[in-house]
Amino acid sequence: MSNFAAVVFDGVVYSSWLFLMAAGLTLIYGVMRILNIAHGSLYALGAYTAASLGGAWIAAGYAPAGSFAMLALAVLLVGAVMGPLIERGLLKWMYGKDEIVLLLVTYAVFLILEDAIKLVWGVESKLFSEPYALPGNFAIGALVYPVYNLVLIAVAVVTGLALSWALYYTRQGKLLLAVIHDREMSAAMGINVDRVYLATFTLGAMLAGLGGALTAPMIAVSPGIGVEVIVLSFAVVVVGGLGSLGGAALGALMVGLARSVAVRYWPEGELFIIYFVMALVLIARPKGLFSAPEARKI
C-alpha cells in the first residue's frame, strides 16, 4: 500500500512541476497562437539565474532561509527582462505569419538562447541545493521525502488557482479571454491587443522561469537542461488541448502519474510512456482533451 502511495506522491510532484511549465506554454499559445519552443530556454534561464543569485546569497553569509527570496527574485528577473525583450524585440514583427512559421521563429530563439546561456554561465554545472535541504524531511510509510516536494506542489496549486482566478474573475482576465476569442474584434472594441500580448508573453516567461527556479535546487544546473523540458511540456499541453489551462492541469496529472507508475514498475519505459500517453490521447481526440471544435474555413 505504501508503495502505491509513494508512486502517487511521486506522480503528483512530477505533475506539479510539469504543470508550471505547461501553464506558461498553453497561456502563450491560447492568446498569441505561438507554440513557444524558447519556453525551455526560459526555464533554463530561470534555473541559472536562481542558482547564481542563491549561490551569491549563501556565499555572502546571509540567512539560508533568504535563498527562497532569491528564487522569487530570479523568477521576476527572467520574466521582466526576457518577456518584453523577446516579444517587443522579435515576435512583434512576426505576427500575422503562419503558426508553423512562428514555431520556427521561437525555435531560432531557442537555439540562440542555448548558446547565450553557455556564454554567460559557462559549461560547468552549478549546484545550489540549500533551499532543497532547508525545510527538512517527512515520511510516507517507510519512505522519506524532502518537504521541498510539498513546496513544489503548493506552488503549482496556488499558481493554477491564481491564474484561473485572474483569468475568469478580473477585468484584465476577461479582456484576455476576449482577445483569445477574437483578436480583431477585441481590437475593434478598443482593447489594446499589443499590451495584452506583451503582458501574456511576460507572464508566460515568468512561469517558465518559475519552473526553472524551483527546479534549480533539485538538480545540477548544466547546459542543455531546457531541451528535454520543451518536448515534455509540449506533450502535456497537447494532451490537455492547446490553450486550455484546465487541460494543462489534467494533462500534467495524466503524464506525471503515468511516468511515476512506469518508473516504479517498468523503468525502461519512462520516456516511452510519456509520449505514448500523448499519442493515445491525440488518436482519440485529435486536438487534445479540452478543445473547442473549430469551423473549417473555405
Binding site: 531560432a108 556564454l119 497537447v238
Partner: protein, 310 residues
Amino acid sequence: MTFDRTIASLAVACGVLLVAAPIAPQWLLFLLALALAKGLVVLGLLLLMRTGLVSFGQGLYFGLGAYAAALLAHRGGLADAALMIVAGTACAAAVAAILGLLLARYREIFFAMLSLAFSMILYGLLVKSSALGSTDGFHVQVKHFAGIALAAGVERRVFYAASAIAVFFLGWALHRYLRSHWGRLSEAIRDNELRVEYLGASVYRVVYANYIIAAALAGLGGAFAALAVGHVDPETTYWTTSGEFVFIAILGGTGNVLAPFLSAAIFEALRTVASQYAPNVWQMALGVAMLAIIMFLPGGLWTLVRRRAA
C-alpha cells in the same frame, strides 16, 4: 522532351560528385557523404512542406533507417551495404505506412508535434535498451557492397558514390513527381485542402502517400549516414536532429529539388568550420541565420539562385 535545367544541373552536380569520389581527401568525402545523406532526408521534408506539412519528427525515420541498416550488419550478419540501404529504406517506409494512417489526418502544429512525439517514443526506447548500446549506440563495420568485397579504405568512397547515384535518381524522380498530377495536388492541398476535396480528389490519400515517400527518403538518408559515420546512436532520433532537418529545409527553401542538397552541403561545411573555431556559438549562429531567412528570404537560399537565373 524539352530541356529541363533542374535535371541537367542535377546530372552535372552528381557527375562532379562521382568524379570526386576516387580523388577527394577523406575529410571532404565525409562531409559530402553526410551532406548527401541529410539532403535526402530534407528532400522528403521538401515534399511534405510542399503539401503544407512541417514534420518535427523526421528523426524517427532517419534513426529507423540507420538502426535497421546497422542491425542487419551487427546482428543479422549480413554486412552488405546494398542490402543495408534497402533494409533501412524499407523499414522506414513500413513504419510510415502504419503511422501515416493516423498522421495523415493531422495538420499544422498537431502534425508537427505528433510526429515529434513518435520520434521521441523511439528515442525513449533506444536510450533504455542496453542490448542496442543504450545512449552510446554501436559501431557498424561493412566490407561488402552488393556481394563484392571492398578493400580497406575504399569502402567509404564506394558508399559515397552510391549515395551520389541515389541522389541523382531520386532527385530526378521527385522532380518529376512534383510536376505530376499528385505533385500538383500536393501544392493545392497546401493552399486550400477543402477546395481540393470539393474538386473530388482525396486529400488523405495524397498526404498519406507523400508521408510515406518522405519517410522512405529519410530512412535511406539514415542508412547512408550510418554507413558514412560507421556508428549509430539514439541521438539520430532526438528532436534536435529533426529540428536540424527542418532548419536545412528552411535554409534551402522548397523551390527546387536541388535546394535541399545545396543547403545541406552549406550546413555541413559551416558546421565543420564552426566546430573547429567557435563550437560555443554554433547554435546561436544557426538561430540568427534562421531568423534572417524567415524575415528576408522566406523562399530560402534557392530564391537567390532563381533570381540569378532569371
